[in-house]
């Protein structure tokens, strides 16, 4: 049996129509994926009872034109009105959720955090003083990977293990999140007892975005219990 030429032609047309400019941008869609994981963090905070609003680097409310980083940057940068989320739990210190910001690790080396939830007072200080947040000020962070190649995944996973040793403190959560599954990456993280989730995408049939969101919810739940 030969291949149905109609099916091939339809796939070609449909594929061409499905390629958004973000996939063809220099970040290869990675910024879109980071934004998606950030949105799961926001959803988790809301599910745990937080009120959330979106503000730019100047403190202005953002409601319709949202601007995000396409490459890692400084939390205090005013070159663009970058959007972050302000997360407020009753009787708790306010938090902020950012995408693609630099954070200073234990060794004082600067690292990129794809998704970072930090204490709002620390974020304000960083914006005024033009310094990077310290890893101790991170409540939650996520390393997000929008790749398909499994070998590259192992390399990235190894570098993530190094990152965790630099930014992870007690009562702080670090996650490795990827759009593709990779048996070797999963085995590596299971062995090293790291928090990870692969295959995370809205079209996932195994409901892994929900499982990841539940992990974020637990992090917020524990934060509330510690702070009240």
């Amino acid at each position: 049996m030969t291949l149905d030429p109609q099916l091939v032609s339809s796939i070609e047309k449909s594929l061409a129509a499905s390629i958004s400019p973000l996939l063809a941008s220099p970040s290869n869609g990675a910024d879109l994926y980071e934004l998606y994981i950030w949105s799961l963090v926001i959803d988790a905070a809301r599910a745990e009872g937080a009120s959330v609003e979106f503000r730019d680097v100047h403190g202005a409310l953002v409601s319709s034109n949202f601007v995000f980083r396409s490459s890692p940057g400084r939390i205090f940068s005013k070159s663009q009105p970058y959007t972050h989320a302000c997360i407020i739990f009753d009787q708790c210190p306010p938090l902020e959720a950012h995408i693609g910001i630099f954070v200073s690790g234990k060794s004082k080396v600067i690292h990129e955090c794809d998704v970072a939830v930090i204490y709002a007072d620390a974020a304000t200080t960083c914006r005024i003083e033009e310094v990077h947040p310290k890893s101790t000020q991170l409540l939650l962070s996520a390393e997000c990977k929008f790749y398909v190649q499994s070998t590259m995944g192992v390399g990235l996973a190894r570098s993530y293990l190094g990152l965790v040793s630099e930014v992870k403190h007690s009562h702080r959560e670090c996650y490795f999140v990827a759009v593709s599954e990779s048996n070797s990456v999963e085995r590596l993280f299971a062995h090293h007892q790291k928090d990870w989730e692969t295959g995370v995408a809205p079209n996932d049939l195994k409901a892994r975005p929900q499982r990841l969101r539940a992990s974020f919810e637990k992090a917020f739940r524990d934060f509330k219990l510690r702070e009240t």
Partner: protein, 156 residues
């Protein structure tokens, strides 16, 4: 679908990706497909003795079963599986992500999302309308990829 059909289609899809600015994805798919499939293989190997630590050499060297990792190249249909899986996890998911994000942002009608680096001057901007268009396009692509996947498996 014959092996030759699968091989041709694998290259054709990668060509389309390259023509639409997704050379990075085509490269990752080709590299993933070239990696092959690893499986354990038991082999009987001769044990080695260090004569320094033995009073006398054994008359016959012992052989024992040892597990090795064997990697075989993928068939063309397996390469098509890699391609379909990658298109679903990257292209299809990218189209489904934006509406989810807009929902989280409680974005009003006509909202936009821009991506720009600190050093860029030209942002990549996506409107709510474009987001919905891509979501419809990937829904159709997902259906077609499922049909293709069925076709690849049916004749295997």
């Amino acid at each position: 679908m014959t092996e030759q059909d699968a091989e041709d289609l694998f290259h054709r899809l990668n060509m389309i990706l390259r023509d639409h600015g997704l050379a990075w994805l085509a490269t990752q798919i080709a590299a993933e497909a070239a990696e092959g499939r690893a499986s354990p293989k038991m082999l009987s190997v001769q044990e080695h003795f260090d004569s320094l630590f033995l009073d006398e050499a054994p008359a016959r060297r012992a052989r024992r079963k040892t597990e090795f990792t064997h990697v075989r190249p993928l068939t063309s249909k397996e390469k098509m599986d890699v391609s379909i899986k990658a298109l679903r996890s990257v292209v299809v998911s990218s189209g489904t992500i934006l509406p989810e994000i807009l929902r989280t942002l409680i974005a009003p009608h006509g909202a936009t999302i821009s991506f720009v680096s600190e050093t860029d001057t030209l942002p990549t901007i996506l409107s709510e309308i474009e987001s919905n268009q891509f979501a419809s396009a990937v829904a159709r692509l997902d259906e077609l990829l499922r049909a293709l996947s069925e076709e690849v498996r049916r004749d295997s």
